[in-house]
Symmetry: C2
Subunit: 144 residues, 2 copies
């Protein structure tokens, strides 16, 4: 079992969230996949292990994980939400052609948050930033 998974399970215990086989599997998949799956991706990936699992279970548990702070929900206009296991502070670079998402480590934009708080009077909790463009693969395809 990975260190990250162990930590995640500890977090669940501390917050009084029951550890069910489904939750265990969803977390494990999120951590190992290294991608940013949709709820349906997760559902399909675990169909083999849990033939009786309901889609609702995936959604329920992703919400639980989000509330506990283990998982971040990424929403885009066109498709369904994607879910990302939170590790270190990073942003995402998204290919507009094929939808690929690449992690991009960058120091948090604290200064922007502070200015926003000052100008608008909001009590700022966090921010979200994504960068959009064309990935190298798609750029090559386009050139042909």
């Amino acid at each position: 079992m990975s260190h990250q998974l162990k930590e995640a399970l500890d977090t669940l215990k501390e917050t009084g969230v029951r550890i069910t086989p489904q939750r265990h599997a969803i977390l494990e998949y999120l951590i190992n996949s290294m991608s940013h799956p949709t709820a349906d991706d997760i559902y399909k990936a675990l169909e083999g292990k849990f033939p009786n699992m309901s889609v609702a279970t995936v959604y329920n548990n992703l919400r639980v994980f989000r509330e506990v702070g283990l998982v971040k929900e990424l929403t885009y206009g066109d498709a369904s939400s994607r879910f990302d296991f939170i590790t270190t502070h990073h942003y995402h670079v998204i290919c507009e052609k094929c939808g690929k998402i690449v992690d991009f480590h960058y120091p948090g934009l604290d200064e922007v948050e502070q200015l926003a708080s000052h100008v608008t009077g909001f009590k700022v909790s966090h921010h979200r930033m994504e960068i959009y463009g064309t990935c190298p693969d798609c750029a090559i395809k386009e050139a042909h």
Copy 2:
């Protein structure tokens, strides 16, 4: 007629997009509303003027406007997409309690885009950033 509306109509003409009464009204509403309405908001607001207008028309035209670059689509997890008439470069500060969206002017994060491009090899086209927190009104309500 506002300057912005006139310019927007010119843009449509230049790109060969027909100017229909519905499109005129949707643009006008977007410009005047100073808010960030959902497709349904727009539909409801124009029901009086266009009793026969279809929801599909609103969606179709918002997509057209987005393709032409007049309108930006903002997507969040919980609710439906919101649409914003593009004026100057600004970001949004969003209240997590009541959903209020406030504009926040800030110089573009060009440096981040450049670094992302360098690190990931992407050809970057644009980025998106939002700041989340609690608005002053909701902060007062909470204190009571």
